[in-house]
């Protein structure tokens, strides 16, 4: 790395050659406000709040667009800078409605915080504000399927425009009526139609772009906890953060209020897709299975306790395993974590040739522009590679097509006595199993056991239903399409009597007289590490999982390039001691969920 050294406010700073003064200042923890600069987007230099004084340069410079050079002497506190900066802030607020009390960004808004810190204490402008589409929240207008736009709040930083142009690859947003009437617009006012649209809420530094999903739902100070985890809605494995709203046990509504992306340069950068961002409602949805269900002698399903359910499973499967080779079939969703697949494999080995397993998942082509920089894989499941690494037959490559036809033939031929489905993903994510539900109803196979998280036609047809956990309710390993083994952390408790899926499988094994000897998830990971030495799984027993931390703490320690901003914005909250994160093993320093090498 070629380095240059400069001084910012008297502090010597050394940065990589080619970095800008603003980037150097952020790295050094020097307070320079910025709006149009975003580390994931091209530099624009349009908002002017990042101005600094650089010795030997005749005028103040925008630090975001000035590249560091050797020996530069930069001041961010010179009275000349402070004055000019305050003037810029005054101008930014000329037309701003200052409706923070009803604005979704309130509490985590750089415009609030920076204006407060760097702006003048009052405005000299006494003429009426320019207003688009009405006052207050009436100005929130339709901005496509996922977003709302409030032009009155917009500061025209053009981050949203650049995001669409550079990352999405389809420039759907532009500035219309440039000049005094400048406004962010889409052609025909048709709104933003993109699978990456949620990122626009993240890039917008004010409350101009908000998501319908999170609108009016919570405030940053109502979100006491954030958990760092990994998205499991497709094989990309984006790093994400899950925000939990603080509310008493008895209060209605969900705790899970939003999911935001977390910087992972080699996986998802600063972004995530809308499928992962908005597709979490099922986790706390109405269709969650909260108690085991057993079909009684009268043929009707009824809720049961774990003891009865497991005993019934043991009985039914015990009979089926005597049915000869391939009489007991497992269908595993690729939404299952590696631990679960590993335990299941141990069980199958113990059962011998009576048992066989098929992994299944869904695929869908995503409609994305040709120039898109963030592609969403076709595989709608997180752990196809993990299944392959454990020796399950899933075909070659990342985009393989799962195949149940052999199983279906065997079921039709009547050689299959029992089918056990392991499906910890949302209903339908395992693929189309309606034929299996119909086959069970027709009596072949005679036994259908479903371990799932959501009720579906399949669970309706089952003899026993065992409620498992969604990915946000358990620690689990998933191997993404790059072959990275990543840990997704638990953010919530499973609902009702639902349990961790690996432990259900251990108990099912026990009911069949097979002792696997795992008492906790760590034991399973240890066994995986021993079974697959030398590769990416060699040290999975060392993986630490994040626990929900206080939102303010999260904001400080997250995304390093924005970190100073968050630090600063939450400066009035009580300090969080140290930088430790609680884990299963106790406390470790710094970040958890380390990136693992591709291998």
């Amino acid at each position: 790395m070629e380095a240059v050294s400069l001084t910012i406010d008297g502090v010597p700073v050394t940065v990589e050659k080619g970095r800008t003064v603003l980037q150097a200042a952020i790295e050094a923890g020097v307070r320079v406000p910025y709006y149009c600069y975003h580390p994931g987007l091209d530099i624009d230099g349009s908002c002017r709040v990042c101005i600094v004084k650089i010795e030997k340069m005749p005028k103040l410079q925008t630090s975001c667009s000035t590249v560091c050079s050797e020996g530069m002497v930069v001041s961010t506190t010179d009275p000349e800078v402070a004055d000019a900066r305050a003037a810029v802030f005054e101008f930014l607020l000329i037309n701003h409605p200052l409706d923070c009390p009803v604005c979704d960004k309130g509490g985590e808004c750089p415009l609030q915080d920076f204006s407060y810190s760097f702006g003048p204490d009052e405005s000299r402008m006494d003429f009426p504000r320019r207003v688009f589409d009405g006052e207050g929240v009436m100005a929130d207008v339709d901005f496509g399927p996922t977003l709302m736009l409030n032009r009155n709040r917009c500061i025209l930083c053009t981050r949203c425009i650049r995001f669409m142009r550079e990352i999405d690859g389809d420039a759907q947003i532009s500035v219309a009526d440039r000049g005094n009437g400048s406004e962010i617009a889409t052609f025909d006012e048709e709104g933003v139609h993109s699978l990456l649209s949620g990122n626009l809420m993240d890039v917008c530094p004010v409350g101009a772009i908000t998501t319908r999903d999170y609108r009016f739902k919570s405030r940053p100070w109502d979100n006491p906890a954030v958990a760092d985890t990994v998205c499991t809605m497709c094989s990309k494995g984006c790093h994400t953060s899950v925000w939990l709203k603080g509310k008493p046990e008895w209060a209605r509504g969900s705790k899970l209020v939003r999911i935001t992306p977390r910087l992972a340069p080699e996986i998802n950068g600063y972004w995530m897709c809308d499928i992962g961002r908005f597709g979490y409602h099922w986790v706390e949805g109405e269709r969650r299975l909260v108690r085991p269900i057993v079909r009684g002698a009268d043929g009707a399903q009824a809720a049961a306790g774990w003891h009865d359910a497991l005993r019934t499973v043991g009985m039914l499967l015990g009979a089926a395993r005597e049915g000869g080779s391939g009489a007991l079939r497992f269908v595993v969703s690729a939404h299952a974590a590696t631990e679960e697949m590993f335990v299941l494999k141990g069980l199958m080995e113990a059962l011998g040739e009576a048992a066989a397993a098929t992994v299944h998942w869904q695929r869908s082509e995503k409609d994305q522009p040709a120039a898109v920089k963030f592609t969403i894989p076709v595989t709608d499941a997180p752990n196809v590679n993990g299944a392959r690494d454990l020796g399950y037959a899933v075909g070659a490559g990342n985009d393989g097509v799962p195949d149940l036809s052999a199983l279906q033939q065997a079921v039709n031929a009547g050689s299959v006595k029992a089918v056990y489905v392991v499906d910890p993903g949302p209903a339908g994510s395992i693929g189309d199993l309606s034929w299996l539900a119909a086959a069970r109803t027709a009596g072949r196979p005679a036994v259908l056991i479903v371990q799932a998280v959501e009720s579906s036609p399949l669970t309706d047809a089952a003899d026993v239903v065992l409620p498992g956990s969604a990915w946000l309710e358990k620690d689990g390993l998933f191997t993404n399409d790059q072959g990275r083994v990543q840990g997704a952390s638990r953010a919530l408790a499973p609902p009702g009597d639902a349990r961790d899926d690996w432990s259900i499988l251990v108990d099912v094994a026990h009911a069949l007289g097979v002792t696997l000897g795992y008492a906790q998830a760590g034991d399973v990971r240890k066994a995986i590490a021993e079974a697959l030495p030398g590769g990416p799984y060699a040290d999975v027993d060392q993986v630490t999982f994040a626990r929900p931390v206080k939102a303010s703490h999260w904001l400080r320690t997250s995304n390093p390039s924005e970190r100073w901003k968050w630090d600063f914005m939450f400066q009035d909250l009580p300090p969080v001691k140290g930088h430790s994160v609680q884990t299963e093993q106790g406390y470790v320093d710094g970040r958890v969920l380390p990136l693992r090498p591709v291998g």
């Binding site: 009405g134 009436m138 339709d142 996922t146 389809d170 406004e183 617009a185 052609f187 409609d367």
Partner: protein, 207 residues
């Protein structure tokens, strides 16, 4: 699942923007001659910079249909390889692209300093009254569109009115407005004074 690639979306449920859009217009394509003219101008730029020809394309559109409709913007986007939003960005920036049909004569009254000091506002008022329109509007017969403009570079002969972006009338005072309109109606652009020296009267050149 509540959200998946098939986004459930009923725009009618939400508050719509009140932004005034360009007219929708008829489906648009260049006539063969204009397409040839466009191809000539686009050939002047590197192949990956087709968008450089956007202004030329929009002028050809305006020449063909008198204004730039939304349909035409979509067409131009395909011609210059960018998105309709980017075309709209350009169209709405330049005041000389019209977004809805205009009259035969577009009267642009300068409102910048010299003209303003010399009573341009009164001229606008007189024109508005005579035509029965507000600035920005087109009269009932579709003959005149009245707009206001910034400095036309003829400050020494203020107040100035530009007609159809290429023709001029200088020293137009409110009392001369009726005769100015009459002459335009009767004799078309030939009635205009053009760039004259001090003292010229409307209609002088024609005689």
């Amino acid at each position: 699942m509540s959200f998946h690639p098939q986004m459930d979306y009923a725009p009618a449920r939400f508050h719509r923007s009140a932004r005034r859009l360009a007219d929708q217009g008829e489906p648009f394509a260049f006539t063969p001659e204009r397409q040839a003219a466009f191809d000539r101008s686009v050939a002047r730029y590197p192949a990956d910079r087709r968008r450089s020809a956007i202004l030329a394309a929009l002028y050809l559109v305006q020449e063909q249909q008198g204004y730039v409709s939304r349909q035409a913007m979509r067409f131009v986007a395909t011609q210059v390889a960018c998105t309709p939003a980017e075309v709209e960005d350009v169209v709405t920036y330049y005041v000389m692209y019209y977004r809805r049909p205009v009259g035969t004569y577009v009267l642009a009254v300068c409102r910048t300093l010299s003209c303003a000091l010399n009573g341009a506002e009164r001229v606008t008022e007189a024109l508005a009254e005579a035509l029965g329109v507000e600035p920005g509007g087109t009269d009932a017969t579709g003959t005149f569109t009245l707009t206001e403009f910034e400095c036309l570079g003829a400050c020494d002969r203020a107040p100035v009115v530009m007609v159809n972006n290429e023709h001029w009338q200088e020293r137009l005072t409110p009392d001369r407005v009726p005769r100015f309109l009459e002459d335009l109606r009767a004799r078309g652009l030939a009635a205009l004074g053009g760039c004259l020296h001090a003292g010229a009267e409307p209609g002088d050149r024609a005689s």
